[in-house]
């Protein structure tokens, strides 16, 4: 195409559209979406019905909010590591902290990086 007339003064400054995937997902192959059910994490801004962006490639370090498998079920909690103890801490006073024991069937499933919450 040959365009006549003056070139647009913005031509040199054109950016691509902002892409939320690019902003929120660093490792696409390892990133999954998970729906929240329950209220034990409301003080961390995680509400029932929200969608969590979960990156499995990240290490479940101390204080991260993670998806864990406990007794065959996916659950969302904040992980705390005290010396040799591993705890899953809720963010709502009405719920109990879970201390992970040897007998428990526990696995870290992924690290929550963002919450998608409708307002």
């Amino acid at each position: 195409m040959v365009s006549a007339g003056f070139p647009s003064p913005a031509d040199d400054y054109i950016d691509t559209n902002l892409d939320l995937n690019e902003h929120l997902i660093k490792h696409p192959a390892a990133t999954f979406f998970v729906r929240v059910e329950g209220n034990s994490m409301v003080n961390a801004g995680v509400h029932s019905g929200d969608i969590l962006i979960v990156d499995r490639s990240l290490e479940p370090a101390d204080k991260k909010i993670i998806i864990a498998v406990i007794n065959g079920e996916l659950t969302v909690k904040r992980v705390r590591r005290h010396k040799d103890k591993l705890c899953l801490v809720p963010e709502n006073d009405g719920f109990e902290t879970i201390t992970v024991t040897e007998e428990m069937d526990f696995q870290a499933w992924g690290v929550v990086t963002h919450v998608i919450h409708s307002v």
Partner: protein, 425 residues
């Protein structure tokens, strides 16, 4: 430089996919059924240990399944396809030289990799795929693709190897080859295997030292390549980009026997729609269309099957045209009074979209642009809103002949309304 290949194979892939999102299946006997819930096509190790064989019809092992409370699932190809893509993308960060060999296998070229130990490298690959995708894999390493495939088999077979086996670190390969029958070799089909057995070549080791001329004569150059690969001479290269498909098929077994021509036409129209969509996705047109149908060979009932091949005057990917031809073809081969179990279509004579000679006496020249635009919008809408959102009316609205998938898990990774749920309780 010495060639080096790794074959990465996902363990019990379909079952493993299901376990990522349904962790309660971990450690339990789980099987996945084929389309239509017909046969066992994937088994967890626990199910294998119960003696449930690959390919067994579901109804034949219902007893074991009930007795041991085996979890039974219909196949969920949307999930397996998405998880496969994730596994392959994860592997791609290790090397761009990757051949996706099947939904659950990939060859990696390690040529030029200067890791101190290939086993360590394989361990890193295995752990990364497991962490990123949740899928357990086995890794086999060898100087040729055939040997990498063998190494992978050994990695799976011998528990103490921990899912990794490096054939290049092995001092006496012949001892290992002695333990494998020719049936188990990649690229040796059942017919070749029995031909070899008849001539006293039973093990991989015997094949390795067979006479080149004899093998070439009886197993063609394909067999000769396998023999050389067994000797460690790499002659099957990595195929990084598969060539465009030479033919596109779509067929299914019906959920129940179908007798009426109307219903068969619906089914065939819907297969055409799917095949045509694939055709357009690779920017090709088809010039030959094959339609077939058949009754269930395994039942005691009147049998009939037939097929017809139609050559199209102008190559096309326009669904309504293809459907019209397919229905005409179907009418010619259809016979009343049979209980049909299966129908299918196959598009071939594939040519690139932009290399087509238009028919002299067609008006296609004028309307080709409109048709392409129409199909593009339909494909776009179906991609966005899910398969079959927009379809030709002749494909039927209810599709009562459709597949049985009574125990299918959710589309955890491809549908917003079917995401896995995490309890915050």
């Amino acid at each position: 430089m010495e060639n080096l290949f790794a074959l990465i194979d996902c363990n019990n892939f379909y079952v493993s996919c299901e376990r990522v999102f349904n962790p309660q299946y971990q450690g339990k006997a789980v099987v996945v059924l084929s389309n239509n819930d017909g046969c066992i096509i994937a088994r967890s190790n626990e199910a294998k240990a119960l003696g449930i064989a690959m390919g067994t019809p579901f109804f034949k092992c219902k007893d074991i399944i009930n007795r041991y409370r085996v979890e039974v699932l219909s196949s969920n190809y949307a999930l397996y396809g998405d998880m496969s893509r994730r596994v392959m993308n994860t592997l791609q960060q290790f090397t761009p030289s990757l051949e996706v060999y099947s939904i659950d296998e990939a060859f990696l070229s390690l040529t030029g990799a200067h890791d101190t130990s290939f086993s360590d490298y394989a361990r890193t690959i295995k752990m990364t795929v497991r962490q990123w995708t949740g899928i357990p894999v086995s890794v086999g390493i060898g100087p040729t693709k055939v040997l990498a495939k063998i190494a992978n088999k050994l990695a799976k077979r011998v528990e103490t190897y921990g899912g990794i086996f490096d054939l290049t670190a092995c001092k006496d390969i012949d001892v290992l080859l002695e333990s494998l029958t020719v049936h188990e070799l990649w690229g040796i089909g059942r017919q070749y295997a029995s031909l070899l057995s008849r001539h006293g070549i039973l093990t991989a080791r015997q094949l390795k030292y067979a006479d080149d001329g004899w093998i070439r004569k009886h197993l063609t150059v394909t067999g000769l390549r396998i023999l050389w690969e067994l000797r460690g001479i790499s002659c099957i290269p990595l195929e990084e980009a598969p060539p465009p498909k030479k033919g596109i098929g779509s067929s299914r077994s019906f959920g129940r026997p179908v007798e009426a021509l109307d219903e068969l036409s619906e089914a065939v129209s819907s297969y055409i729609s799917r095949a045509a969509e694939k055709l357009r996705a690779q920017c090709s047109l088809a010039s030959v269309l094959h339609v077939y149908l058949g009754t269930n060979r395994f039942r005691q009932m009147p049998q009939y099957s037939n097929g017809i091949t139609l050559t199209l005057s102008v190559p096309t990917s326009f669904t309504p045209h293809l459907i019209r031809y397919a229905k005409e073809g179907l009418k010619k081969i259809y016979k009343k009074g049979f209980q049909y179990q299966k129908a299918g279509v196959f598009l071939s004579g594939i040519v690139p979209q932009d290399q087509v000679q238009l028919g002299l006496f067609t008006r296609d020249r004028l309307t080709a642009g409109y048709k392409r635009a129409l199909m593009d919008s339909i494909d776009g809408i179906n991609r966005k809103w899910g398969k079959g959102t927009l379809q030709c009316a002749s494909a039927g609205v209810k599709q009562t002949w459709g597949m049985r998938q009574e125990m299918k898990s959710k589309n955890f990774t491809t549908r917003w309304d079917e995401l896995p749920v995490a309890r915050a309780g």
